[in-house]
């Protein structure tokens, strides 16, 4: 083992909440590569570490596991990888088993299970500072003697808190053969754990008083829910309001860059590709970043502090009734700002079935991009009349549109639950870990990862589809003696015209059909596209809305207006959402199912709305 050219492979494993990822960040710093394990959407994190001897190590952060008899995909991957059975992954040379020193009863049992594999193991006694503060005395030497493997204290959140571990690993690696012990199969691991605890641990109290105190308030049926409502309000407000100025800035910057590039190039297909295709496409990707980063800053902080599982505890019963889980709540809430960060946030849902259900209904939450469309249509068709108690009819309709989205999401997930072939019980069994103050380094690394995943993976698909859309909208070009707007001559225009037959029962005219196509880039684009189709020259969305309002309120029937409003509740009218679904589920099929069911819902709901409205004399 001494003169190996390949770096030694270390694998970090341990129970969830043992501080394994913080230790991984401490060991590898920002030298991390985040990808997925082949064929599945479980995250694979690898990093590099250099020991004091100069030796190089490849460190793999395995998914958290309570046991090597797997109950989830994560645990199956951890088991297979440790044993060296995972296809395409080399077996680790040394297993670094991370345990929370304040939770040894549970975590030592897992160490014993790991020892049964008979691989070289070193135990990292993590959070040893927290244990000391709580008066837990651990006789490290005794534990080492009883276990038969090295036990090293670590404090993952402190600078140099893993130095002793690295030194010990370096010493082990210098030996000709890595030491290993094997525990007999079939041993009573609980009895053995009790024996170890008796031999090496003095524990004054079972739980930290601060945890007891906080849980008494934060899990209280009334105060707990009030606190949760406050936290949710803050997150929603932040994602919705704080991101807006930055997004406006990005949009203005993109437009300015486009103008500058357009101005310095002669008019032609190249300039158009650069400005309307590439620059607009890139801008369309980056504009999502502020919301994603703000949302994930909150989610990471909540997860690290231990509050997120508590929120799931409070809401589980309510969400389970609709076929979701308590953890679905935050992703769905953030989908009101934008479905993209919402869908990415479903990573905090461990159960794959609950996660898929959440992803599929997230687009039904009324995202902020629908607002300009709603504003145009409500302004044009719904009279600004006071109905009762100071409520305005326009406001009520807007509220109704939001509620229709929420109720439809609950109905859809409920139907999915009923129709699912898999009738197995999906347990909650959720650990509520001790409260912790999140470490800024872990938050920053986590945020950086989310940002890169979005830009690299989701961004690529959004960008490609935006350029494709540009092709559809620009070719073939309008003839020089054109009397109609250019879009009318393009492929998109032709598709729009041919769609008219399909959409006539919904009351959509050909102008609407054409505007729906560029609206795929982002829903709010539908407004400016309508302005283009009606050959209006409007400088921005606001001007477009003002110019359009009299036109459509005269030109369209009320039934058409209502039908289009209902269409936008459901329609899968956003390629960025498609890209996020494809990326997060790793499946084109799931993406197609999501787009397909939303389209069918949108079509049927609009059909019903239009036909009923026409019968009632609004045609």
């Amino acid at each position: 083992m001494n003169a190996r050219a390949e770096p030694l492979r270390l694998a970090l494993l341990g129970n969830p909440n043992c501080g394994k990822t913080a230790l991984f960040n401490q060991l590898t710093g920002s030298r991390q590569k985040v990808a997925n394990y082949a064929g599945v959407t479980v995250e694979r994190k690898e990093g590099r570490l250099r020991g004091p001897s100069g030796r190089q190590y490849a460190v793999l952060d395995l998914p958290g596991a309570y046991s090597l008899s797997p109950a989830s995909l994560d645990e199956a991957i951890t088991r297979d990888l440790c044993r060296g059975f995972y296809p395409g992954e080399a077996a680790p040379d040394l297993l670094v088993c991370v345990v929370d020193a304040t939770n040894l009863r549970l975590h030592l049992r897992f160490v014993l299970e790991v020892l049964q594999m008979g691989k070289p193991v070193i135990v990292a006694l993590n959070m040893s500072d927290a244990a000391r503060r709580r008066g837990i005395q651990i006789d490290r030497a005794a534990l080492e003697r009883e276990l038969g493997v090295s036990v090293v204290e670590t404090v993952a959140v402190r600078h140099h808190g893993a130095r002793a571990l690295v030194e010990r690993i370096d010493e082990l690696a210098a030996q000709p053969r890595l030491p290993q012990v094997t525990l007999a199969e079939g041993a009573d691991l609980h009895a053995e754990t009790r024996r170890l605890l008796d031999a090496a641990v003095r524990m004054p109290a079972r739980t930290a008083h601060i945890d007891d105190l906080l849980d008494r308030w934060l899990l209280h049926p009334l105060f707990g829910l009030l606190t949760l409502a406050l936290v949710m309000f803050l997150i929603f407000q932040a994602v919705y309001a704080w991101a807006t100025p930055v997004m406006d800035l990005i949009e203005a910057g993109t437009a300015a860059l486009g103008e500058w590039v357009g101005g310095s190039l002669s008019e032609g297909p190249l300039a158009s590709l650069l400005v309307d295709g590439i620059i607009a496409g890139l801008g369309g990707v980056i504009v999502f970043l502020p919301q994603i980063l703000i949302l994930f800053a909150f989610i990471l902080a909540l997860e690290e502090s231990g509050y997120l599982p508590r929120a799931a505890f409070l809401l589980d019963r309510m969400m389970a009734g609709a076929g979701l889980s308590g953890r679905s709540f935050i992703p769905l809430l953030s989908s009101f700002a934008c479905a993209i960060p919402g869908i990415m946030a479903t990573r905090s849902i461990q159960d794959p079935r609950d996660r898929l259900a959440t992803i599929l209904v997230a687009p039904l939450m009324t995202c902020s991009a629908r607002l300009p469309v709603y504003a145009l249509l409500i302004g044009a068709f719904i009279p600004a009349r006071e109905v009762a108690l100071g409520f305005n009819l326009q406001g009520l309709v807007l509220f109704g549109l939001y509620m229709a989205g929420i109720l439809s999401a609950l109905a859809v997930s409920w139907v999915m639950k009923k129709w699912r072939r898999d009738k197995g019980e999906h347990p909650l069994m959720l650990e509520l870990p001790s409260y912790r103050v999140p470490h800024p380094r872990d938050l920053l690394i986590g945020l950086g990862e989310r940002g890169m995943i979005f830009l690299k993976r989701v961004g690529g698909i959004i960008f490609a589809l935006t350029v494709l859309l540009w092709v559809l909208l620009s070719f073939p070009a309008a003839p020089p003696d054109a009397t109609m707007p250019a879009i009318d001559y393009s492929l998109a225009g032709r598709i729009g015209h041919s769609m008219t037959a399909l959409f006539a029962p919904l009351g959509f005219n050909w102008q609407i059909c054409i505007a729906l196509i560029p609206g795929l880039a982002a829903r709010e684009v539908a407004v400016s596209s309508l302005a283009t189709v009606y050959a209006l020259s409007a400088v921005d969305d606001e001007a477009a809305t003002q110019a359009l309002t009299p036109l459509i309120s005269d030109g369209w029937s009320l039934a058409t207006g209502l039908s289009l409003l209902v269409w936008f509740i459901y329609a899968p009218q956003c390629i960025a959402t498609w890209a996020a679904i494809k990326r997060e589920t790793g499946s084109w099929k799931t993406m197609a199912i999501a787009a397909g069911y939303l389209f069918v819902l949108a079509y049927l709901a609009s059909l019903l709305t239009y036909q009923v409205a026409v019968r009632l004399g609004a045609g």
Binding site: F313, M318, P427, L432
Partner: protein
Amino acid sequence: MTLTDSPPRTPVLVLSVEDAHPGDPIARRLRELGFVAGEEVRIVARGPFGAEPLLVQVGYTRFALRRAEAARVLVTPVQPAAQPSAPMQDHAPAPVEEREVSA
């Protein structure tokens, strides 16, 4: 009685975890999490809707269990000699094991 029926904030001893069906993975996982005969457990909180899920303290760890999961755990009251005076602390049997004595 099952863990579901045990009164909140009162320590009880685990008798066994029953399989709901042969090879029940949920029962197996509960045993792995520390629900084994003789272990002291306690319901520390209940969810706001329909008193579900239950927050159960086992060893040094707290798990949220739905009622259907908790119903697999058979428990018996801790002997009356060990009346807990303060519900949040463990005045468990006699301090045979020092780690079970409260601060």
